[in-house]
Subunit: 197 residues, 2 copies
DNA sequence: CCTACCGATCGGTAGG
DNA sequence: CCTACCGATCGGTAGG
């Protein structure tokens, strides 16, 4: 029974993994269960021994990613670093997730609109909460005069979306290393493009 | 005859406009021609008196947007402004397009993968060329010591994607004005978050 | 995990 | 611009 459970879990994991790849490449709506079954190496009907529906796959991917980001945010909130350090840490986490966990993070970010209720509302709420926490960190830094007097929600948007540009990095032929990418991104976001006098 | 032509063009424009709205909301693949017909106010079959196929609509949207950005880039290349001024101008153009022309620009950015050949390759090539031109402007500025020694293609990714965060601004209830949004975005990208000593 | 199959819906066409 | 309809494909189920 333990063995069966383990086997089943690992086949389900394979399905989720292949689904993340296909959802990223073609989008959720344009990926058929027959496409997915083929990439897993079974018939479409057999997928339903491991998952309940196409939407359940998307739910698993989106909430897995959301949980990881929420956990990191909680860790960050409980420490006493300065604002710049916190923001830098958050940025680096997002960048690393986008590099190492590309397919899942990308799908969660781009395809969550296809979630069904009540998962859709749940996901949107988590997203809103996460962004508010991020903005609070920035507002705290503005108050403490550590960062510029910018509109915090706008800065959050910029940073979260900038990171998703790593999609193009993944697909480019002449890639700089992940580490270089991270350092460049952090430098541009924190200190800007302009060379200071 | 002139009248008929005018009428037809304007109905086609309505279809393209409604399609851009729906493609943004639901994605290209998840939008059916029946959905689209309903929002236009005619039967699905009648759409085909104005357009040849669902994909032709996407082509019209994507290449219309691409042409606008290409035209702006050519204008910019032919002037003799400094790097910071050029980059700022480019940023502002992207931001304004994303504010004023939201639906179309968003669809072009997110749904171009569903283009059929040869349009897909054509679009990807235009995209690659545009980014190279953008990166060249940055590299020129690095050489002239006007901007930091960053990886130019990475900076391009960040800026292009950061702008697409305006999607969230559109959907937020407590919006700052478009002008404020633009100023904040430009400031963060050019000068960074950190307050200089 | 497969074969066989379901009802629903898709993009698109014929003909008026 | 509509009615009527096409073949293809969709997500999913029954039964073994």
């Amino acid at each position: 029974m333990a063995k069966t459970a383990r086997k089943k879990a690992s086949k389900k994991d394979l399905i989720l993994q292949k689904a993340a790849i296909m959802f990223r490449e073609k989008g959720f709506a344009a990926t058929s269960m027959r496409d997915l079954a083929e990439s897993v190496g079974i018939e479409a009907a057999s997928l339903y021994n491991h998952i309940r529906s196409k939407n359940e796959i998307l739910e698993a991917i989106c909430f897995d990613v959301a949980n990881r980001f929420n956990t990191n945010m909680e860790l960050l909130e409980s420490n006493s670093d300065g604002t710049i350090k916190k923001v830098e840490s958050l940025l680096r986490f997002h960048i690393q997730q986008m590099i190492e966990n590309y397919e899942e993070v990308f799908v969660s970010d781009r395809e969550w609109k296809h979630l069904d209720e009540p998962y859709l509302s749940n996901f949107q709420n988590q997203r809103r909460t996460y962004r508010k926490k991020f903005a609070s960190i920035l507002e705290d830094g503005i108050r403490k005069n550590e960062i510029r007097n910018i509109d915090a929600p706008t800065a959050v948007l910029i940073m979260l979306h900038a990171v998703s540009g790593i999609e193009s990095w993944h697909r480019s032929k002449t890639k700089i290393s992940g580490k270089e990418l991270e350092e460049n991104m952090v430098m541009i976001m924190i200190d800007g493009l302009r060379k200071q006098g």
